[in-house]
C-alpha cells in the first residue's frame, strides 16, 4: 500500500488519519517464520506509532505474542499470523487509551491447513475522548478442517465520552471448524467501586485494581508476564 488509506478501507476505519499521515509511508511488517515444531514467544510494548508483525507458523509450530498498546497520540499494532498444519497461535493484547488518543489492534489469523489452533484475547480500556478499537479476523481456508479459532474482545469505557470499537470477523471456507468469538463493551461495576470505597480504598486505586483484573487475562501465561503486568499497571495509573 503506497497511498495513505482512507476511512473507506475497513482496516483503517477507526484510525487517526492525521497522525498516520506523519508516519507515512509505514515500514514493512517484520516477518518471522517459526520453523516446523519450533516455539516462539514475544512481547511488544508499543507506546505510539505503528508496529507491524507478520508471523508464519510452519507445521506444528507454536507462537505466543503478547502486546501492550498505549498511545501518546496514535498507537496501532498490526499482527498477521499464517498457520500451517497443527500450528498453535496465541495473541494476548491490552490497549489503554486516554485523553484524545487513538489506539488500535488489528489482528488477522489465517488457518491455511488442518488442525491448527488460535486464540486471541484482547482487552481495551478507553478514557476521556479516546478511541480504542480492535479488529480481529479469523480466516479458515478450504480444507483447513479441525481448525479451532477463538476470539475474545472486551472493552471498558471509563468515561461516557470515550469510544470502543470491537469487530470480530470470521471467514470460513472449511466444514469441520470450531470458531468462537465474543465481544463485550462495558463500564466498571459501580457496586464494586462502592464496595472497595467502603473498605477504605481510594477511588482511583479501586479503579486501577478492577482494571488490572480486567486486563490480566490477556497476559496469562506470557513468558514475561510480570513485566507486562507491571507495564500495564503503570500505563493504567497514568490513565486514571
Amino acid at each position: 500500500m503506497s497511498n495513505l488509506p482512507t476511512r473507506k478501507a475497513e482496516d483503517w476505519r477507526y484510525a487517526d488519519l492525521a497522525a498516520l499521515e506523519k508516519l507515512w509511508p509505514l515500514p514493512d511488517a517484520e516477518s518471522i517464520t517459526v520453523a516446523a515444531g519450533d516455539s516462539f514467544a514475544c512481547a511488544i510494548i508499543n507506546k505510539g506509532g505503528v508496529t507491524r508483525l507478520s508471523l508464519t507458523l510452519e507445521a506444528g509450530a507454536r507462537a505466543a505474542v503478547h502486546v501492550l498498546n498505549s498511545a501518546d497520540a496514535y498507537a496501532r499494532i498490526e499482527i498477521e499470523a499464517t498457520l500451517h498444519e497443527g500450528a498453535d497461535f496465541t495473541l494476548g493484547g491490552v490497549q489503554l487509551a486516554g485523553g484524545a488518543q487513538t489506539a488500535e489492534i488489528v489482528a488477522t489469523v489465517r488457518h491455511m491447513e488442518p488442525n491448527a489452533n488460535s486464540r486471541q484475547i484482547l482487552r481495551s480500556v478507553a478514557a476521556g475522548t479516546a478511541t480504542a478499537s480492535v479488529l480481529g479476523k479469523v480466516y479458515v481456508a478450504k480444507g483447513a478442517d479441525g481448525t479451532d479459532g477463538q476470539q475474545s474482545m472486551r472493552a471498558m469505557l471509563l468515561d461516557r465520552s470515550a469510544t470502543a470499537n470491537a469487530r470480530p470477523e470470521l471467514e470460513i471456507h472449511a466444514d469441520d471448524v470450531k470458531c468462537a468469538h465474543g465481544c463485550a463493551i462495558g463500564e466498571l461495576d459501580a457496586n464494586g467501586l462502592f464496595y472497595m470505597a467502603a473498605r477504605g480504598i481510594e477511588p482511583a486505586r479501586a479503579k486501577a485494581l478492577m482494571l488490572q483484573a480486567f486486563v490480566a487475562e490477556a497476559f496469562d501465561g506470557a513468558e514475561d508476564e510480570d513485566h507486562l503486568h507491571a507495564a500495564a499497571q503503570a500505563a493504567l495509573e497514568a490513565l486514571l
Binding site: D189, N191, A198, I201, R205, M210, Q212, F214
Partner: protein, 247 residues
C-alpha cells in the same frame, strides 16, 4: 461515637428516611429492627455514603466529624465499617490483595506506614482462623463463587482485619445456616465487643441477637425510629410482630 439527628434521605427522589434520630456511644451494641421497606438498609447505605442515597436534611456526627463531609473511603478510614447484606463480587482481585490494599489505604490516611506482606499475612491468618475461614479461600477473588454464608464470614474477616471503631452490619444473619450464624455472632463479639468500639446491627430477626446481645433495640418504621428499648424489645417483636408492637 455516632449521633444521627433528624436524618432525612431519598433514593431516586423518593423519601425513605424521614427524621431518624439515633445516638450510639462507645461500648454499646444497638440493633435496628423493622419491617421490609422501613429504611433499614438505606440507613446503612446513607451512613456509608453510597452514591444515589441523598441526604436531604439532618446530620450525622461520627467521632466528632461531620460524616457527610467525608467521601466513602474516608469514612472507612475514620473507622466506619459497613457490612453488606449482599457482599459484592470483584472478579480477578483476591481477598488478600483487596484487604491489604484496604488496610494500607486506611493506614496511609492516618500517616501510618504500610504493613509488610509478612505482617499483613499474619494478621489475615489470625482473623480468618477466628471466623473458621480457610486461607485458601482468602486467596480466591473477592466473594466470587462464595456461598451466601461464606460471603458473610468473609465480611467478618474483613472487619477483623480492618479493625473499625463502628460496625454497621446490614442483615449479616441473612443467608446463614445455624453454624455459620454462631460463627459470625461469635466473630462480631470477639472483634467488636470492646469498650472503645460500637456496633449497629440491622436485622429482621431475633436469632442473631441470641449470639450478639444488644444493649439497645430500636424499631424502625416508615423512615424513623418509633420505639426503643432494651433487649427485651426484640423478644417482644418476635412474639407480637412489628404490627403488634408499632401499632
Amino acid at each position: 461515637m455516632l449521633t444521627i439527628e433528624n436524618l432525612h434521605a431519598s433514593v431516586a427522589d423518593k423519601p425513605i428516611l424521614k427524621g431518624l434520630n439515633l445516638s450510639i456511644n462507645a461500648g454499646e451494641i444497638h440493633a435496628i429492627m423493622g419491617p421490609n421497606g422501613a429504611g433499614k438498609s438505606t440507613t446503612g447505605y446513607v451512613l456509608g455514603g453510597r452514591p444515589g442515597y441523598e441526604v436531604t436534611q439532618g446530620s450525622a456526627t461520627f467521632g466528632g466529624q461531620d460524616l457527610f463531609e467525608l467521601e466513602p473511603h474516608e469514612r472507612a478510614a475514620a473507622g466506619l465499617f459497613l457490612g453488606f447484606q449482599y457482599p459484592v463480587e470483584i472478579p480477578g482481585v483476591s481477598n488478600l490483595q483487596f484487604l491489604r490494599e484496604a488496610l494500607n489505604s486506611q493506614r496511609k490516611f492516618h500517616d501510618l506506614p504500610p504493613l509488610s506482606g509478612g505482617e499483613f499475612l499474619k494478621l489475615a491468618k489470625e482473623k480468618a482462623a477466628l471466623l473458621k475461614m480457610d486461607m485458601e479461600m482468602m486467596k480466591r477473588p473477592v466473594n466470587v463463587g462464595f456461598s451466601g454464608g461464606e460471603k458473610k464470614r468473609a465480611e467478618m474477616v474483613q472487619m477483623g482485619i480492618l479493625n473499625p471503631k463502628l460496625a454497621i452490619l446490614d442483615e449479616t444473619d441473612s443467608g446463614l445456616d445455624i453454624d455459620a450464624l454462631r460463627i459470625c455472632g461469635e466473630g462480631i463479639n470477639a472483634i467488636m465487643r470492646k469498650p472503645d468500639k460500637a456496633v449497629l446491627l440491622i436485622t429482621h430477626y431475633q436469632r442473631l441477637l441470641d449470639y450478639v446481645k444488644p444493649d439497645f433495640v430500636h424499631v424502625l418504621a416508615d423512615g424513623r425510629i418509633v420505639k426503643s428499648g432494651g433487649p427485651e424489645l426484640a423478644l417482644e417483636l418476635e412474639e407480637a410482630g412489628y404490627e403488634g408492637v408499632v401499632a
